[in-house]
Symmetry: C2
DNA sequence: CCGCCGCCTGCTCATATGAGCAGACTTGCA
DNA sequence: TGCAAGTCTGCTCATATGAGCAGGCGGCGG
């Protein structure tokens, strides 16, 4: 396109989009036929001079969702728009809302839903509406009895999701990570615990997030790991955790010994699930989101625009 | 609009603008009639959920131009878009380009064009194309013989505009501001100088910018004023200068004694011009732009989006 | 409980837009 | 210079969209 046409296409776009003129009127104004005007507008669009944004907290980016499905082999993808977002918290809230919307619209409604816990899951539980489903039974898929004062958010999350969905919650009465392998084995051999894990394995769907491998990790906050532990994991290549299990950029377990002390579904258990919904948003989770998608841990991803684009770039 | 409709309108907008579906297809997808879809889209637009931007250095904001004409009584206004601008220099360049475009398209072509000088005018002269007009005679409307090494930009500006327009330049051989009133009167009584000023008064059009009243002023740079002088002017209410004359927010001369020592057209001379094109861009010139427009110094304004919105807010 | 008012819906019809095509025009090459 | 290929133009026709209207529905006051 030569310079003259480029300028004309801009003039035409101004008249068309800002002044609501018809292509015919624009033609008269610029001494062009209306067909020429149509072509100029098409060129302006195609060259990216026209940018259309949907400004709304609930806005999604369907073309990016499509690319995630097609290029990353996801069954489904939900990408929330970052347009007009001013803080990471806002982005997190939008993503949680989208996850809640997705669950609500999900058909067939899962009878048993396996959930992890953490900040993201808690926020999703808050965004769900009463009656989002009728009779959904929720089961925890990884240990979450907290060791300190923030106790109970793991349980509260599962209970809230179940309650608002008109069902009941089955909690996994165990810490996430134990200090000794023997303790972990003892706990898992407990009838109740083993039963919960068995139930979790049979869930119709899993809903989980992923944590970044850094000092903001909820495992540090909850007292399961120290900052030094996490630093060490990072040195070994960890990019984040899923259901309490730390993975590298390929989705492989970084520290098998640590993993053996972690209670709940294994990553392979998760991969065996039919519907595996991961909800991952925010700059700090780009790397782990990538690992989760690449290694097939999720079949459905709910995320934000920037994270999605990161996945598609790589 | 209730919450449900709001959400639907966002879904519809996504499908319409991002996926290029027809309203009919959207209707099928969302189980609505196509008329409902059309109404939802109209609502989304009207509520401002849809934002259409034209991303191009030459893009203008016609609705803002219209408002400037209607609400500020300008004969014409050119507002360049700030979309995607990263530095003040870029904004300045866009505005200068727009001014050059405006001059080039101007009909009838002025036979005599009075110009001021400064960074903005210089940049406009650089953006003009060879042959932008045929036989335009350019006359300086205020003194500009420089006192220091930056000498000659005033003259170079006028000459470049004239040369590229296939005409010749008439320079005003005088400093902008003189130290003593007597000197100024002596200079103005010189036959040549008086003749140039007389010619300037009869110009078909004036093209000028305005300077901010701060330490970046080109008058300080050129040595006509000291920083202390400008500080004093600011104390007296100066918001900037036009053709070397400092005005307050009402467009009145701030310091009559200083004004009397300034060579060139008076502000009233400028106001007597038929076509008075002011080119003013940048955050630091908001106040002076306001004064220029309010006091009728210009009949045509070329500016940037942010400055224009500032003028309309007040 | 009934009737009136106003909003919302889905229509008809007019208009605006996009697809595709035939001819004119330019451009590159022998 | 002359030819062939590709590009651009302005058309016809099909489709998508918007304006405006009649009927239906729900809400409110009597």
């Amino acid at each position: 396109m030569d310079e003259t046409d480029e300028l004309l296409s801009i003039r035409a776009a101004e008249l068309y989009y800002e002044e609501n003129k018809t292509q015919d009127e624009i033609g008269q104004a610029l001494r062009l036929t209306r067909w020429k005007v149509g072509r100029l507008l098409a060129q302006a669009k195609q060259q990216g001079f026209i940018r259309i944004e949907i400004l709304h907290p609930r806005a999604r980016r369907l073309p990016i969702e499509r690319r995630l499905r097609e290029e990353r082999g996801l069954e489904d993808a939900i990408v929330v728009s970052s347009a007009g977002v001013s803080s990471p918290d806002e982005l997190q809230a939008r993503t949680a809302q989208a996850a809640a919307d997705y669950l609500t619209a999900l058909r067939p409604v899962p009878r048993t839903l396996g959930v992890s816990w953490g900040r993201t899951l808690f926020e999703i539980s808050q965004h769900l509406r009463n009656g989002w489903a009728t009779g959904v039974n929720v089961v925890q898929i990884n240990g979450g009895v907290s060791l300190n004062r923030r106790a109970g958010t793991a349980a509260a999350t599962a209970v809230a999701i179940a309650q608002k969905g008109g069902g009941s919650a089955t909690l996994l009465p165990s810490p996430a990570i134990l200090e000794h392998l023997a303790t972990k084995e003892a706990i898992e051999s407990d009838r109740v615990v083993a039963g919960v894990i068995e139930l979790a394995r049979s869930a119709d769907a899993y809903l989980f997030s992923a944590g970044p491998a850094d000092h903001t990790s909820v495992h540090i906050e909850s007292g399961y790991l120290t900052e030094a532990d996490v630093d060490l994991l990072v040195q070994k290549g960890a990019v984040g955790d899923v259901v309490g299990r730390y993975i590298d950029s390929e989705g492989n377990i970084v520290d098998p010994a640590l993993d053996a002390r972690t209670v709940g579904l294994t990553l392979d258990d998760v991969r065996d699930g039919r519907l595996r919904i991961a909800v991952i948003a925010g700059r700090s989770k780009h790397a782990v989101a990538d690992a989760v998608v690449r290694s097939g841990l999720c079949s459905v991803l709910v995320t934000d625009e920037a994270t999605a684009l990161h996945l598609l770039d790589g």
